[in-house]
C-alpha cells in the first residue's frame, strides 16, 4: 500500500519532468502564434538549444550557464527565421521547415564529439516545508528550478494575454495585422521580437531535454518533440492552462510507454514507441472534429505574411 503510494507520486513527479521540454517549447510557440506567426522550426530550435546548452555545460561545468546557452541557441536560430520571414517576407511554412532541417544538421555537426558524455547534474530545489507534504510534496515541490519556472511561465503568459496592454497588442497584431498597422503599431518589429522569445523558450526546452530529462547528447534526440509542441498548441486552442494540461497528459503517455517497455510487458517495443505519435494524431483529430471550421480560437492572421503598405 505504502510502496504503491511512493511509486505513484514518483511517477507523477517524473511525468512533470518528461513533459517540461515540450511544455516550454509549446509555450513559446503559443506566444509566437498569438501574434500571427507560424514557426514550424520548433524542432530545429529545440535540438539546437539542446546541443548548445549541452556543450556549454560540459565545457564550463555549470548547468546554469548551459541553460543560458540553450536559450541563446534557440534565439539565434529564431533570429534566422525572423530575418527570413519578417525582413525577406518569405513563406512561413517553408521557412519553418528549412529551420528544422538546418537546426538538425547544425546540432549534429556541433554535437559530433559530445556523444556519450554525461553533463554535470542539475540539483533539485526542494521548497521548504511544502516538499515535506505527503504525496503532493514529491509530485510538486521537489523539482529543479526550470520546472518551477515553466509553471511560473504558464501563469505569466496567461496573465499577459488576459490583462496586460502588451498582451492586447500582441493579440491585435495576430488577429488583424492591417488594423494594427493602421493604428501605428510596428507589426514587423513586434513579430520579430516575439519570434525571438519563442526561440528562447524552444531552446530552453531543448536544453532541459539534454541536461536533465535524458541527460546526455544523442543525434536527433528531440525525436519529434518540437512537432508535438506544435500539435499541443492546437490542442490547447491557444490557451496557456490547457497547454499545461496537454503537456502533462503527453508526458504521462511517454512515461507510461517507457515504463511498460522497462517492465517488459508483452507488447512490442515498436508499438509502444509509436504510441506518443499516434496519441498526438488522435488528439489532433479529436480537436479538429469538435471545432467548427474557422473558429474564434486561432489567431486570424496566423501564417499570413504582412507586406505593409
Amino acid at each position: 500500500m505504502n510502496m504503491g503510494d511512493i511509486n505513484l507520486s514518483l511517477l507523477f513527479a517524473s511525468l512533470i519532468v518528461a513533459a517540461t521540454p515540450v511544455l516550454l517549447a509549446a509555450l513559446g510557440e503559443l506566444i509566437v502564434e498569438k501574434t500571427g506567426v507560424l514557426n514550424l522550426g520548433v524542432e530545429g530550435m529545440m535540438i539546437f538549444g539542446a546541443i548548445t546548452g549541452f556543450i556549454a555545460t560540459i565545457e564550463t561545468g555549470s548547468p546554469w550557464l548551459g541553460f543560458l546557452f540553450s536559450i541563446l541557441g534557440g534565439i539565434s536560430l529564431a533570429f534566422i527565421f525572423a530575418i527570413v520571414t519578417q525582413v525577406f517576407r518569405a513563406n512561413q511554412v517553408a521557412s519553418g521547415l528549412a529551420l528544422t532541417l538546418f537546426g538538425l544538421g547544425l546540432s549534429s555537426l556541433l554535437g559530433y564529439s559530445y556523444t556519450g558524455i554525461k553533463p554535470a547534474a542539475f540539483p533539485d530545489m526542494h521548497v521548504p516545508y511544502l516538499s515535506e507534504l505527503p504525496f503532493l510534496g514529491i509530485i510538486l515541490f521537489q523539482h529543479d528550478p526550470i520546472i518551477y519556472f515553466s509553471i511560473f511561465a504558464v501563469f505569466s503568459v496567461y496573465l499577459l494575454f488576459r490583462n496586460s496592454r502588451l498582451g492586447l497588442i500582441l493579440k491585435a497584431v495576430g488577429e488583424n495585422h492591417d488594423s494594427a498597422h493602421a493604428l501605428g503599431y510596428n507589426v514587423i518589429l513586434i513579430r520579430f521580437l516575439t519570434i525571438l522569445v519563442g526561440g528562447a523558450f524552444a531552446g530552453l526546452g531543448g536544453g532541459y531535454l539534454s541536461l536533465v530529462r535524458v541527460p546526455q547528447w544523442t543525434e536527433g534526440m528531440t525525436a519529434g518533440a518540437g512537432w508535438i509542441a506544435l500539435a499541443l498548441v492546437v490542442f490547447a486552442s491557444w490557451q496557456p492552462f490547457r497547454l499545461l494540461v496537454g503537456a502533462y497528459i503527453f508526458g504521462g503517455v511517454t512515461l507510461l510507454q517507457l515504463n511498460l517497455q522497462a517492465l517488459g510487458v508483452e507488447i512490442n517495443v515498436a508499438l509502444l514507441s509509436m504510441s506518443p505519435y499516434l496519441v498526438t494524431i488522435a488528439v489532433l483529430v479529436f480537436m479538429s472534429a469538435r471545432r467548427a471550421k474557422g473558429s474564434l480560437e486561432a489567431p486570424r492572421s496566423l501564417g499570413k505574411t504582412f507586406f505593409g503598405l
Binding site: I80, R89, L99, L101, F102, G105, N268, A270, L284, A289
Partner: protein, 365 residues
C-alpha cells in the same frame, strides 16, 4: 530607407536566376562554415561541386551515384510540389517512402523465390499503393475533420519508422540471415531486382521513371485542368471556390500523388541501391525533397535540375567526408542554408527593392 514595391508583372529573369543567386550565397556562407571548421573552403567547395563530375579520379564512381541519388529526390519532390502549390503541405514523404518500400518489399518477399515477369510490376504497384495509402491518412483526416495535414503527415513518419524497425527485426527478417536484422537482399532476387540498365552509368529503372515523370507532369501542370486548378487554389483560394473547384478532390489528388511517387521512389531504392529492408533504410530523402521542390520553384523541370544539384551535394559531401573528414551533418547544414537563401531571394521576384531617397532625387529634383 529601404522600401518594397510590388512588381506589376513578375520578373521571369529573376525567377530563374534566384536559385542561382541562392546557390552562390550558400557556397559563400558554406565556405565560411568550412573555414571555421579549419578546412580550406575552396578545396571543400571544389570537392563537393566540381570533383564528383569532373575529377578523373572520382567521377567514375561519383557520376553514377549522382543519378542514383537524384532519382528518388526528383520523384518525391515532383509529388510534393503539386501539393505545395495548392497549400497542401505533405511533409511526411519520408514515411510514405518507407511504406512504399515495405509494401513492395513485402510482396517481393512473399513471392520469393518465384521467377515470373509479373513480380516486378506487382511490386511497383505495391510501392504506389503503400505510399499513397499512407498519405491518404492525413488526406482523409483533412477533408473529414479539417485536421492539420502538416502535423499528421509528420507524425506518421515516426510511426512508419517504427513499422520499418518491426519489419526488419521481425516479420520481414531474412529467415536465412542467422538472426541478423534485415530482410533478404531483393537486388539479388532476379525477378524483383532493379539493376543498372547501362553498366557504369547508375541509370536504373527508377531513374528512367523519374525522367518520364518530369516530362509527363510538366505537361500535366501546364495543360491539364487539375494542374490549372492546383495553381488557382494556391494563388487565389476564393477564386478557386468561385470557380467551383472540388477542394476535397484536390486534397486527395495532391496527397495521393505525392504519396504514390514517394512510395515508388522507396520501391526502386529498395530493389536497387539498397537491396534489403533494414532499420537504416531511409536516409532522409523525403525531407531533402522538400528543399528540392522549393529549389526547383515547384516546377517539374526546375525540380529535375534541383534534384541533380542536391544529389551533387550528397555525393560531393560523401567525398568531402572521405577525403577531408567533413562530417555528413555539415552537408545537411549546407542544404538547410540553401533553402533559406532561396526563400529570401524570392522577395526579389515579387518585389522591387528601392532606396527611397535616391529614387526621388533622381526623378523629381
Amino acid at each position: 530607407m529601404i522600401k518594397l514595391e510590388p512588381r506589376k508583372n513578375r520578373s521571369s529573369i529573376l525567377e530563374i536566376s534566384t536559385p542561382i543567386i541562392a546557390v552562390i550565397m550558400t557556397m559563400l556562407f558554406g565556405g565560411i562554415l568550412f573555414y571555421l571548421m579549419g578546412k580550406n573552403p575552396f578545396e571543400v567547395i571544389k570537392l563537393i561541386f566540381w570533383d564528383p563530375v569532373m575529377s578523373p579520379t572520382f567521377s567514375e564512381y561519383s557520376r553514377p551515384q549522382l543519378v542514383v541519388k537524384a532519382a528518388p529526390l526528383i520523384l518525391i519532390a515532383l509529388g510534393l510540389s503539386f501539393g505545395f502549390r495548392a497549400n497542401i503541405w505533405n511533409i511526411g514523404a519520408e514515411g510514405q517512402y518507407i511504406m512504399g518500400a515495405l509494401l513492395s518489399g513485402g510482396i517481393g518477399l512473399a513471392l520469393y523465390p518465384l521467377s515470373a515477369w509479373y513480380v516486378f510490376p506487382l511490386m511497383i504497384l505495391g510501392g504506389i499503393i503503400g505510399g499513397a495509402t499512407w498519405a491518404m491518412i492525413p488526406a482523409l483526416l483533412k477533408i473529414k475533420f479539417n485536421t492539420n495535414e502538416i502535423l499528421v503527415s509528420l507524425m506518421l513518419v515516426y510511426v512508419a519508422e517504427q513499422i520499418l524497425a518491426l519489419a526488419s527485426l521481425g516479420f520481414l527478417r531474412n529467415p536465412e540471415g542467422l538472426g541478423f536484422p534485415g530482410s533478404r537482399d531483393l537486388s539479388k532476387y532476379e525477378s524483383a531486382a532493379n539493376p543498372e540498365l547501362i553498366a557504369g552509368t547508375g541509370i536504373h529503372l527508377g531513374v528512367v521513371f523519374s525522367f518520364i515523370a518530369v516530362i509527363f507532369l510538366t505537361y500535366f501542370l501546364s495543360y491539364h485542368r487539375t494542374g490549372f486548378q492546383i495553381k488557382l487554389i494556391g494563388q487565389a483560394p476564393r477564386a478557386a471556390s468561385f470557380a467551383g473547384i472540388n477542394l476535397r478532390y484536390i486534397v486527395i489528388f495532391c496527397l495521393g500523388l505525392s504519396g504514390g511517387l514517394a512510395g515508388i521512389a522507396g520501391m526502386f531504392e529498395l530493389t536497387g541501391p539498397a537491396g534489403v529492408i533494414h532499420i537504416d533504410f531511409n536516409v532522409g530523402y523525403g525531407f531533402t525533397a522538400i528543399i528540392v521542390a522549393f529549389l526547383g520553384r515547384l516546377h517539374p523541370i526546375g525540380i529535375f535540375l534541383a534534384g541533380l544539384l542536391m544529389s551533387l551535394t550528397y555525393v560531393g559531401g560523401e567525398l568531402a567526408q572521405f577525403m577531408m573528414n567533413i562530417p555528413a551533418a555539415a552537408i545537411q547544414v549546407f542544404q538547410g542554408m540553401l533553402l533559406f537563401f532561396l526563400l529570401s531571394a524570392d522577395l526579389l521576384v515579387n518585389y522591387r527593392i528601392s532606396l527611397r531617397t535616391s529614387i526621388n532625387k533622381r526623378r523629381y529634383k
